[in-house]
Symmetry: C2
Subunit: 337 residues, 2 copies
């Protein structure tokens, strides 16, 4: 048992030597080029197998001008939404032999541009989730980043597809659901103010308000995580609202937990909705009424769009809209009075 790991990695030259051919021939064999004499081909394959040869991907990438890798930039890897996008993307890409490189900007929006550029240079394409980046910067960056697909953002650069979730539509439907249950005082527990997706929700609610003048709609500043929801309990109770539209499922869960601590019953005393339908939403107590976003599928779709770009296939529409679907569960019920 020699210490083989001390040895330098074996390369194409070693195989060529062992098989008594040139490295060109080895390369041809490894790539299934048919212009090689079958006898020689098997000889090469045997040598390769014996030496356990695996082509060096870096050399390969340099010669081929592609890395078979795509990058994804996310603002926060702790957020279930981005985890799900990543998962969908990764699995779909893997199916086509692509790997994914992740770049977590940790919510530092100034990092996003740099990370995106670095990731892009190492990869054949990019999926960009940059909810906080300024429009101007995005616009400026876009050309140098493609092939790229944007999540929940758009740009005027026509070659950059966008995958959008219609948060406005979703939140309107949730609000309608509450109205149908007889609620007239609704509270919106908002997300981060600079978030693009929060803006869409606000727009949706403005439309909703316009169509329902009789409904009293309040906004309370929140955030995007448990703590925000948990910390908003007092404000929510003080508001007098009979129902709450939380920014997302995380916020809703924090709120649910806080309400339970206060002895406030859901949905008897107050109704609560989330947004996203993360895995956990189904298992809260009570199970959370929410707007389901097919987010893993969005990740997969991101890959398909990116793949089309990489392969230079004629593209479909620039923007692809995902409609959230209301999932009525136990956290919403008839208004108290």
């Amino acid at each position: 048992m020699g210490r083989r790991s001390t040895t330098r990695r074996i390369g194409i030259a070693d195989v060529a030597l062992k098989a008594g051919v040139s490295h060109a021939t080895v390369s041809r064999v490894m790539n299934g080029n048919l212009t090689v004499d079958p006898a020689i081909a098997t000889r090469v394959r045997e040598a390769a197998a014996e030496l356990n040869y695996q082509p060096n991907p870096v050399g390969r990438s340099l010669a081929l001008g592609k890395t078979d890798t795509i990058g994804i930039v996310v603002p926060d890897l702790a957020n279930p939404t981005f985890q799900a996008i990543l998962r969908g993307l990764s699995r779909a890409a893997a199916r086509d032999g692509y790997r994914v490189l992740i770049a977590d900007s940790s919510e530092v929006s100034s990092e996003e541009a740099i990370l995106a550029g670095e990731a892009r240079r190492r990869c054949d394409g990019l999926v960009l989730c940059a909810p906080r980046m300024g429009d101007a910067e995005l616009e400026e960056l876009a050309p140098s980043l493609q092939p790229m697909v944007l999540i929940n953002r758009t740009t005027t650069e026509s070659r950059v597809p966008s995958l959008m979730v219609d948060y406005g539509q979703g939140i309107q439907e949730l609000a309608e659901h509450l109205v149908e249950l007889g609620h007239t005082r609704i509270v919106f527990l908002s997300g981060p103010s600079r978030s693009a997706s929060n803006a869409l929700r606000v727009q949706g609610l403005e439309k909703f308000q316009a169509g329902h003048p009789g409904i009293e709609l309040q906004m309370i500043d929140g955030g995007s995580n448990f703590e925000a929801g948990h910390g908003a309990v007092d404000a929510v109770l003080a508001s007098g609202g009979t129902s709450v539209l939380a920014f997302n499922d995380l916020v809703a869960m924090g709120l649910l937990s806080g309400l339970h601590e206060r002895g406030v019953r859901v949905p008897e005393d107050i109704s609560v909705t989330g947004f996203d339908d993360i895995q956990f939403a189904r298992y809260t107590t009570p199970p959370l009424t929410t707007a389901a976003v097919p987010i893993t599928e969005l990740g997969a779709q991101a890959w398909h769009r990116l793949r089309a770009l990489i392969r230079n296939e004629g593209s479909q529409d620039a923007v692809n809209i995902f409609r959230p679907q209301v999932e009525v569960r136990g956290s919403t019920g008839p208004a108290k009075n």
Copy 2:
């Protein structure tokens, strides 16, 4: 406004041409080599800036023999545990200028070996989470994969550090906690039978049983996700146990949800514990008593160990054990009788 994106990527040669020097000099300047005349250096830097030149990482990697990238192989990107490891790893690595490439084996253990090899070849090091891989295969693979660090596995290959969570210890402490509350009939809702970490829990429980002959300990086959927990409700209720040690938080949450549907009160009628202390555990109703594993920190630690290996720094102990810490919350209470 030319269509710059149509143009070939600009390379070191373009900068050299523009600055009127050789590409060697450009390279020297870009890498901060001090043996370049300051006047020329600035000229080069200006040219580089003007052309917006960024070195091609692939060429760089080939020349340098390193990619500044590490890989991580996970069995399931949908599992919060691996998400947290990934997060910790990614952030820690980013701090040192490394990126991470992910390989999701989708629980297909036959894929693990191949994925690991491929990922390793593209990267400078590997973090391997392969709970289902056979010992023999792991042993065989280990030498060819290093530098590598293992999560919750060990190998005889001394140069491969292991980061272990002491599941045995954790589950014992949870059981002790239940005993202190007066429980004498405890159910263990087990994880996947081929999982290494499940085996550790079973071992821990055997020790526990040896020290507490009076306690009746039952095992029920479960799984590792919500559905497993939710589906085990009947079996749990039929068992007559007054408390349940769930394989992990996900299973516990599924169980909690199922019990709630049945109108069984937690912890009044039955106590439930989880394992891992994922983010969500704190916000279930009631909040989940669990054994907290500092999993994000484990991810960070994985990077530090891997970094030491990559830098060839003398390593510390081969295996690094993380002790779970019992977090008592609302899902456990005194035994019913």
